[in-house]
Each structure stands twice: as structure tokens, then as C-alpha cells.
């Protein structure tokens, strides 16, 4: 596997504030990597470091095997798409697309060719002679992508490109981005705080917190086998149900609740007894006739019902702790009803109470 982008022991501080701490990341050729995290986690900062818009405090950045730590942004073979589009307002779409090429002294005929190709890929040919002010949000974002596209770069960097669009357009452009990646097969690094974007677009997701990568893995791994409590809590909406308790001989005990962890895949099968936190996704809790097949069964009282059309959210309480259950959208449940639920411990996640790491 060839590496497209490699980040080695990267540190970045603004004065006394350490934003990135000894960060290592290898991104494969043609990979779609998403940097996911809440605001202030350093994901955009990392992207700016890769782009060369921020000077790193320590460490190295390699693009295509070449050390670009001291290189100018334009020399790195990257194209960048910004959240606010950042189109040059006084230039036409065509001017926007060709600005970078003109700076690189590309011959005129070649500029024409590349602009035409990018316009074709992104379907913005009719807009070429308009100014950005006369474009809609989606069109602007397309032009911004086109600006990276014409430069024939190895790596695309996206800084929350869809966050300024309305919900419907965002979903459309998301699919289009995925299609574009399939077509171009470039390396793409994509920063977002939206987990749906991350799950749908990424080959791999890096979940970040406080300048550290909490977990790097495929969307499937991130969702099903979160490495630690933070990732487990961050991914999924509504978020996981957590419960503190004790692990005793492969059985989770919390108050008068006992949950034998039948079929749970421990990282270390000889995991010793200790205080733990168990996490269960609301959508992994079964109701109705499926309860009979579930390894663990219990009854809960419904506190609150949120019908959302596609599915229904149930807020219940288990021994006084809030507990969320996701049911089919057609389920008709009323407040105060007693609901039989089934839990499959093999789909749960167990974390060490102290280190918050997965067991």
C-alpha cells in the first residue's frame, strides 16, 4: 500500500495552548478519510497543517512520499474546499477556476481544456461566465470543488464543505461527492462534525478529541466496536445508553440488574473483574416478537415517546437511569406503558470504568 499523506509526530501550539499533540496518521492512496470531532478538537487545524496554511510546531508532513513540511501550500499538490466557499467575488466562475492555473503559469490552451473538463464533471458549464454572487449555495460549492479539480492535485482537502447548505442540498451534494470520489479516485481528506457525512462518505474515520485521534477505523468499526467511551458516546444519534456497574465472572451487575455477557467478544478473553461501563445502542434493543429470541430480556416503563416518522424514539427508565430505545416508525406506544425489551450482549460495548478503553 502506498501512502498518499503521512503525518509524523505532529505538534501544533498557539502559544501555551497545545492544539495537536504528537499526532500520527497515514492515509493511503485514493482513500477517503474523514476527520470527525466536535468543535475545537483540532480537526480543521490538522487540515490547515496538511494544506500548509499553518506552520507546525514540530513533526513532519509527507505528501506522496515527499517531505512538504516547509513547502508553500501551492507546492504541495493539494486542492482545498472551504466551508464558506471562498470564491473570489470579483471574478467570474471561469476566472475563479483558472486563477490557480494562471498563477502556476499554465499555458492558455491547457487552462481552457482543464476548466472545460472540470465544468463538465461538475455540470457547471452554463455558469462559467457568472459571478459568484449570482450563484446559489450548491452551485457555489460546486465551483469551489471545481477550483480544486482543475489543478490536477493528488490530495483534496475539504473543510466542512457542506455545513453552510440546507439539509436537502447537503444530502444531495454528499452523494455527489461520493460519486466524484469513485470517479476520480483521488485521496480526499474531509473535515466534518456531522457523523452522517462521516459514516456515509468515509473509507476510514478518524475521531478526534482535544488534538488526539481517539479512534481510526472504518465506519463499521467505529460504529460497532468503538475503542473507548468517547467514541461510543460521540457516534450514533440518539447516543448510546450507558450504565455503570461491575464485571464479575463475565456477568455485568448493576444494582438489581444482572446482565450475562453471552457472546460478547472481549479483546482479552481473560479480562479480570473490575468496575465497568456498558453501552448499548438504542437501535440494538429489540422489541415485539423478537424479544423471545434475545439472550437477555426485561420490562421497562415508557416515559416519553418521540415519533419521527421513519422511527420512534422511546425514553424509558431502567432502575431510575434513562434508557433510550429506537423502534419502528409504525410502533404505537403510549406513555406509561410497560414494554418488553430484549438485549443482545454481543452487540453491546463494555469499557473499563477507569481508563474508558474497550474491554
Amino acid at each position: 500500500m502506498t501512502h498518499s499523506v503521512q503525518i509524523k509526530n505532529l505538534d501544533l501550539s498557539f502559544g501555551a495552548v497545545k492544539v495537536l499533540k504528537n499526532l500520527n496518521l497515514d492515509i493511503a492512496e485514493g482513500e477517503f478519510l474523514v476527520l470527525l470531532g466536535s468543535s475545537g478538537c483540532g480537526k480543521s487545524t490538522l487540515l490547515n497543517c496538511i494544506a500548509g496554511l499553518l506552520e507546525v510546531t514540530d513533526g513532519q508532513i509527507f505528501i506522496k512520499g515527499e517531505n512538504v513540511t516547509w513547502a508553500e501550500p501551492s507546492e504541495r499538490g493539494i486542492g482545498m474546499v472551504f466551508q464558506s466557499y471562498a470564491l473570489y467575488p470579483q471574478m467570474t466562475v471561469k476566472g475563479n477556476l483558472s486563477f490557480g492555473l494562471k498563477n502556476a503559469k499554465v499555458p492558455k490552451a491547457e487552462i481552457e481544456k482543464r476548466v472545460a473538463r472540470a465544468a463538465d464533471v461538475l455540470q457547471i458549464e452554463p455558469l462559467l461566465n457568472r459571478k459568484p454572487g449570482a450563484l446559489s449555495g450548491g452551485q457555489r460549492q460546486r465551483v469551489a470543488i471545481g477550483r480544486a479539480l482543475v489543478r490536477d492535485v493528488d490530495v483534496f482537502l475539504f473543510d466542512e464543505p457542506l455545513s453552510n447548505l440546507d439539509a436537502k442540498l447537503r444530502a444531495d451534494l454528499r452523494v455527489e461527492l461520493k460519486r466524484l470520489h469513485n470517479q476520480l479516485q483521488n485521496t480526499m481528506i474531509y473535515v466534518t462534525h456531522d457523523q452522517v457525512e462521516a459514516m456515509t462518505l468515509a473509507d476510514r474515520i478518524a475521531v478526534m478529541k482535544g488534538g488526539l485521534i481517539m479512534q481510526l477505523g472504518t465506519p463499521d468499526e467505529i460504529y460497532n466496536r468503538p475503542d473507548n467511551l468517547y467514541v461510543a458516546d460521540f457516534i450514533g444519534s440518539p447516543s448510546m445508553n450507558f450504565r455503570d456497574g461491575m464485571l464479575e465472572n463475565g456477568v455485568f451487575k448493576s444494582g438489581d440488574l444482572t446482565l450475562p455477557l453471552i457472546g460478547y467478544d472481549f479483546i482479552d478473553p481473560q479480562t479480570a473483574d473490575r468496575p465497568v461501563v456498558i453501552g448499548m445502542r438504542p437501535e440494538h434493543i429489540v422489541t415485539g416478537e423478537l424479544v423471545a429470541n434475545a439472550p437477555v430480556q426485561m420490562n421497562v416503563t415508557v416515559d416519553l415517546v418521540e415519533p419521527m416518522g421513519s422511527d420512534t424514539l422511546i425514553y424509558a427508565a431502567v432502575n431510575g437511569d434513562p434508557f433510550r430505545i429506537r423502534m419502528d416508525g409504525q410502533a404505537r406506544v403510549k406513555k406509561g406503558e410497560v414494554l418488553a425489551i430484549g438485549i443482545d450482549p454481543s452487540r453491546a460495548s463494555v469499557f473499563d470504568k477507569k481508563s474508558e478503553a474497550r474491554l
Binding site: 490547515n48 494544506a51 496554511l53 508553500e72 501551492s74 471562498a86 470564491l87 473570489y88 470579483q90 486563477f99
Partner: protein, 322 residues
């Protein structure tokens, strides 16, 4: 059926309510207060001296004459010189144009660098520059006299080193270069004194330009000057207009520097106006004085009228973000 009898639609407004009367009344009085002197000036400038001697300053001219205006422009005497204000006008233009262009060119690059290319100590540099705006002029007058004199001498020494070469090539060599008392000296002074406020204006404006635009241009391979000329400059026309208005009116109205750093043949219009109006010899020609004053005030007046809206917009754009 809904109740259609109660209040419905927009609430009716009375034109003559107490608030409106207060507001418009006050505005009217203030306007009158400010415009009355202007009226007197215009009226007086159109009268002949016999009519003025009647002493009725508010009455409109019985016999309109433009002669005072002609006299003020081309015949009024200051000392032995009787060319009127026209020479002062030309001097002022020759001071104004280079001062405005040079000061805005330098200040806009300053502001751009301070806003977008932050370097170590750029904030300190900016603070020092702004501090310059608060130092009273009086403190700097004499040091600048010395500076201009000495740097003129220094430049003379440097430039005269080329004289043998120039003479060998058949050109005339440099004579003594004087900054003190020359128009260029005053241009330099105006450029320096405009720097703090203009830099502040441009820095604040460029700070309000989205940072991502600047980043995108860097990714696109544009450098310091490329971004300045191709991205920032075309976007910031309003602030350039504001800077121009500030500088044109400021420099045109300047009297202090003009009287100190120039000589009688290079006096700007304001200084010459003062000399005409305050001349102690002969009869006081009020009509000529009024015409001369109005002529001197015409340039800033025109600038304000022509650009009123832009001026307000630019000031607002420059002032909001710190």
C-alpha cells in the same frame, strides 16, 4: 364569523404628533443655525462694496455682481504678489495629489500586511503606529523642521555623488536638494501624518474580509502582491474611496503644516486665503474675502456632496471590527 369591528391591519399614524414636531422642529432650528452663515457669505460675495456698507448683512443683493469672485481668484494681493488665490489653488493641488496617492498606497499595503500576514510583533508594531495618532502635532513640529532640513542635506550629499557621472554623460548634475520649504517636504509630512489613521482604516477593513478567501488564494499559489492586487484590491474599492475622502479633505483643509513647512511661493490655498483675509493694508473687501473663502471650501464641499453615501458606508465598515 370573526369579529371585524376591532382594530385591524396597520395601526393609523398621525403626522403631527408631539414626537414628530419635536424632531422636525429641532432639526429645522439646527439647520437654520448652520446654514445662516453660509447664506450670509454667499449673499455678501455677490454684493458690491457700496451695498455692503449699508450694513444690512441678511438682505439679498440688489445688484448681483460676480466681480468679487473674479478678483478673489485672480487679482487679490498677498504682499507684493497679486495673482489671487489661483496660485494657492495650484500649490494645493500639487501637494494634494501626490500626498493622497502615496499615503493611501503605503497605508493600504500596511493594513493588508497587518491584517493578513501577521508576523512576530505585528500587533506591537500596530499599537505603536496607532499610538502615533495620539501624539499632539505641536510636539513634532520642530523635530520635523530639523528632520526635513537634515535629510535634504543628506540627500544632496548622496545624489551629488552621481554628478561627475551625469556631467560626463552630458546631463546637468544635482544641485542642492531642499525638502524644508518645498512642496515635496510637505507631501512627506502629510504622508507620515496620515499613516496611523489610514493604516487602522485599511487593517480593519481587510480583517473583515473572510480569512478563507485569503487561504484559498494561497492554495491557488498567489503570493503577497498577487493576493493584494488580484484579490484584495478589487474587493475594497469602498474603503479606498473613504481613505481618499479623508485624505483629500484633511490635506486640503490643513493650515498648520502648510504655513510651517512651505515658503510664500509654495503656500497652499488655505494659507493664502488667510493672508488675503487678514491683510491689514487698505480697505477690507468683505465681498472678496467671502468669495475667496467659498472658493477655498469648494473642494472639500464637492467631495462630501459627491460621495456622501460611500463615506458613511466606508466609515461604518472600517469602524465596526477591531
Amino acid at each position: 364569523m370573526t369579529d371585524m369591528t376591532g382594530p385591524r391591519g396597520p395601526k393609523p399614524k398621525r403626522v403631527f404628533n408631539s414626537t414628530n414636531i419635536m424632531i422636525y422642529g429641532t432639526l429645522f432650528i439646527v439647520c437654520l443655525y448652520y446654514l445662516l452663515p453660509l447664506y450670509v457669505m454667499i449673499v455678501t460675495s455677490l454684493k458690491g462694496m457700496p451695498e455692503i456698507r449699508l450694513g444690512n448683512i441678511f438682505s439679498p443683493p440688489v445688484e448681483v455682481t460676480y466681480e468679487p469672485w473674479v478678483k478673489a481668484w485672480s487679482e487679490a494681493c498677498t504682499g507684493i504678489n497679486c495673482e489671487g488665490l489661483s496660485r494657492g489653488f495650484m500649490n494645493s493641488v500639487r501637494i494634494l495629489v501626490p500626498s493622497v496617492i502615496i499615503s493611501i498606497a503605503i497605508a493600504s499595503v500596511n493594513g493588508y500586511a497587518l491584517a493578513n500576514w501577521k508576523f512576530k510583533g505585528s500587533e506591537t508594531f500596530f499599537t505603536i503606529l496607532i499610538f502615533g495618532a495620539f501624539i499632539p502635532y505641536q510636539v513634532m513640529i520642530y523635530p520635523i523642521v530639523i528632520l526635513l532640513r537634515e535629510s535634504g542635506d543628506g540627500m544632496t550629499n548622496v545624489m551629488q555623488m552621481f554628478n561627475p557621472m551625469l556631467e560626463w554623460m552630458g546631463f546637468e548634475g544635482f544641485g542642492k536638494i531642499r525638502l524644508m520649504g518645498s512642496l515635496w517636504g510637505l507631501v512627506i509630512v502629510h504622508t507620515i501624518f496620515g499613516m496611523p489613521i489610514l493604516t487602522l482604516l485599511f487593517r480593519n477593513y481587510f480583517t473583515s474580509v473572510p480569512e478563507e478567501l485569503f487561504k484559498a488564494a494561497r492554495v491557488d499559489g498567489a503570493g503577497f502582491w498577487g493576493i493584494y492586487f488580484r484579490i484584495m484590491l478589487p474587493m475594497s474599492l469602498p474603503i479606498f474611496v473613504v481613505a481618499m475622502i479623508l485624505q483629500v479633505t484633511g490635506i486640503w483643509n490643513d493650515f498648520l503644516f502648510g504655513v510651517i513647512y512651505t515658503k510664500p511661493d509654495t503656500y497652499p490655498m488655505t494659507v493664502q486665503l488667510n493672508n488675503i483675509v487678514n491683510s491689514v493694508q487698505g480697505v477690507k473687501e468683505y465681498n472678496v474675502n467671502m468669495a475667496a473663502t467659498l472658493l477655498t471650501g469648494l473642494v472639500p464641499l464637492f467631495i462630501y456632496f459627491a460621495s456622501g453615501k460611500l463615506f458613511v458606508r466606508g466609515i461604518a465598515a472600517g469602524a465596526v471590527k477591531g
